[in-house]
Amino acid sequence: MTSLFQVPWSDYRPDLLDALWRTVSYTAVSFAGAVLLGLAVALLRLSKVWPARAVAAVYTEVFKNVPLLAIIFLSYFGLASAGIRLDVFTAGCLSLVVFYAAYLSEIFRSAISGVHDGQTEAGEALGLGKVGIFGHIILPQALRQALPGTNTMLVDLLKSTSLLVTVSAAELMSEGRLITSATFRALEVYLVISAVYFALCYPLSQFLLLLERKVRAGVPLSPWRRRRVRTARALLAADIGTVRGDSHRTDLKEAAV
């Protein structure tokens, strides 16, 4: 065992922490961008205007069927040869955004389409406008439907940042390569780097699973909704108290995970 671990890891701790921070930064920025672009593409694909639908469909099909590595090379080397020089962080994020937005748009489109037409009608009948219906009724339900797929994409994106090693993006995998070059301890180094990825991804996926369960149970997550439910609970205290003991009784608190 001692012969396996011979790299002076304490010497590399600052560099590893810096690489870890970069990996998290690539993930956070790219995922935020991919969600926004994916949502926009999904809305275009659901548009009544056929050119908008066509553009969105072409985008989705192109980026779903080109390898991420090719997109990274195109962003960093390809654009540079065409006179558009992007720094490695921008090129890396751009690649991840356009690639994952294609997949997320499919998840979002399916989730939005899956919201029953009766929900829109109920919103209309209550006098909500198009924006109100989308924001208060369709989007929250669609997000609930899209959460499992979106969460899978987030973990996948985090792991895919390792491909940025090919453009020396100074993230975890790049740092691992540098340490390997300096120590010639490939097995040890990549075992440790893999363990760091696992230590990032596993808690993240478990947290996202917990989040999914909470959302499915209707647990209020936003501060304003928590405040509303708290006030409602206080106003309804007497009513809920009168039936305490009913065998069928369930409410938001009991359903919460």
Binding site: G127, L128, T231, L235, D239
Partner: protein, 276 residues
């Protein structure tokens, strides 16, 4: 009941209201007035020159076979369906005329017309109380006022003890009662009920009809599409029989349901085992 509660000029048969004459009090101001309304889907005429009025505080039940145009007629009131021809007037304001939307503020119109759907259509991501709050908030009602009103309405429909439950944790009857509370939240001038008990078991049906009975006693104006003929007989001021997109017969419930003047009405009632 001495005056016609609704008028219809196209039906083949309209019962004379008992006691109508010069001494009758003035008919109530109409909350809903439909005149010459026609509607087609893909070239198939589903409503043909329908005229109907619902006076303030009155309850009008629309009965008829499935596919006869009842639901479409109701959905034309809040313009969930746009008529091809005719005029729709709500609370004294013409909202649709000659196949064109006349109303400049459609959401405002819809806030004056509450609607209860056959399949409830509650928002599944929100608790019962939040379902009742949502439309109030988007209409600008302050949060505390909206919540207090929601709780009051949930108590009124006897489902306040389930106020923090999500729709999928509620029984069908509870869901429909929450839907009624939600429809009442914006203090509508008229409530539309589209077969509100069709998806419910007998016990849940009784619960919902009990709430509707109380609303009727409170003087709520209601337009009701229903297959619950005994209930229609009990609460309605006026019954309209629709068939093939036309009003075939209308009048007081005891006239239309117990002594129908039209063969088609008798046939329909016989098929429901309700012919007297």
């Amino acid at each position: 009941m001495t005056e016609p509660l609704t008028t219809a000029t196209t039906p083949q048969h309209t019962h004379q209201e008992a006691g109508s004459g010069t001494s009758s009090p003035a008919p109530p101001e109409p909350v809903v007035r439909i005149d010459g309304l026609s509607k087609s889907f893909d070239g198939r005429l589903v409503l043909d020159d329908v005229r109907l009025e619902v006076g303030r505080g009155r309850i009008v039940s629309v009965i008829g076979q499935s596919g006869g145009g009842k639901t479409t007629l109701m959905r034309c009131v809040n313009l969930l369906e746009r008529p091809d021809e005719g005029t729709v007037e709500v609370a004294g304001q013409v909202v649709h005329s000659g196949g064109r939307l006349v109303c400049s503020d459609l959401p405002a119109l819809r806030r004056t017309v509450g609607m209860v759907f056959q399949r409830f259509n509650l928002f599944p991501h929100l608790t019962a109380v939040e379902n009742v709050v949502l439309a109030q908030r988007t209409a600008g009602v302050p949060e505390s006022e909206a919540l207090e009103r929601a709780v009051t309405l949930l108590r009124r429909v006897k489902v306040a003890h389930r106020g923090l439950a999500l729709p999928d944790q509620l029984s069908g009857g509870e869901q429909q009662r929450v839907a009624i509370a939600r429809a009442l939240a914006l203090k509508p001038a008229v409530l539309l009920f589209d077969e509100p008990t069709s998806s419910l078991d007998p016990e849940a049906t009784r619960e919902v009809l009990s709430v509707m009975r109380e609303l009727a006693a409170d003087g709520m104006t209601m337009l009701l599409v229903t297959h619950e003929l005994p209930f229609a007989r009990e609460v309605s001021d006026h019954v309209v029989f629709v068939d093939g997109g036309r009003i075939v017969e209308e009048g007081r419930p005891q006239d239309v349901l117990d002594n129908p003047g039209q063969a088609r009405t008798r046939e329909f009632l016989a098929s429901y085992g309700s012919a007297s």
